[in-house]
């Protein structure tokens, strides 16, 4: 079980800020494929992976990063702070 968080328009498209996911995915990319297969709203949110960022346990990561030992995955658009 892994906590999956969504922010900004990713959260709006999927329709919730956080969920617990049962997954056997080895990498972030595999998790994304599992989520896209679920429902149209997930497919829409993850349609253009290049426009998304991911954090593993609150550290920025790449989509090919392994999920082993990770407790929290977050998906969001490029940040616009400052």
């Amino acid at each position: 079980m892994i906590d999956v968080l969504y922010f900004a328009w990713v959260r709006e498209r999927i329709g919730l800020p956080k969920e617990r996911v049962e997954t056997g995915a080895a990498t972030v990319a595999e998790l994304v494929e599992e989520l896209k297969a679920r429902e149209e709203r997930y497919a829409m949110a993850f349609a253009d992976i290049a426009s998304l960022r991911v954090a593993l346990d609150q550290e920025l990561a790449e989509f090919d990063a392994p999920l082993a030992g990770v407790r929290e995955v977050a998906f969001f658009p490029p940040m616009t702070g400052g």
Partner: protein, 148 residues
């Protein structure tokens, strides 16, 4: 070194007045204040979402990186989230060092990284609709200035 992420409004003047004062090793203080801009008069509200927990960690890591690059005697980052009106202060950065070049460079660096590497997302509520602010290519490109 101080990092604050908060919903409440704050006064940059008061923060600057209390920053790195009474020290005899500080020769230069640089501050940056970011303000909700509405040049066209069409913005009703700015909403800033963030990632509690990661936000503080990411900002602290950026401040640590600045401290590793320059002789910073003190640094401060305050960033708001929630809803703000045009003209309201969004965030502030301040750096203190012995000489002006280090204070300028480190504040500039902190701003570039906060812009693109701290987990904040801006949404504009405009008269004609609501839009998430898109990250700019030039903001990502600005980071290249600091690669060594």
């Amino acid at each position: 070194m101080r990092v604050r992420v908060q919903e409440a409004a704050f006064d940059p003047g008061r923060e600057l007045a209390g920053f790195a004062r009474g020290r005899h090793d500080v020769g230069a203080v640089v501050s940056f204040t970011g303000v909700v801009r509405d040049t066209e008069g069409t913005l009703e509200r700015m909403e800033i979402e963030h990632y509690p927990g990661m936000t503080e960690k990411a900002i602290s890591a950026i401040v640590d990186e600045a401290s590793a690059r320059w002789s910073l005697l003190d640094a401060m980052v305050i960033h708001r989230h929630g809803t703000m009106a045009p003209g309201e202060v969004i965030m502030m950065v301040a750096t203190a060092s012995a000489h002006r070049a280090e204070a300028f460079a480190s504040a500039d660096f902190l701003m570039d990284y906060l812009k693109s590497r701290a987990p904040f997302w801006k949404k504009e509520r405009r008269k004609d609709g609501t839009v998430w602010v898109a990250a700019k290519d030039e903001d990502e490109a600005a980071l290249d200035r600091w690669s060594r």
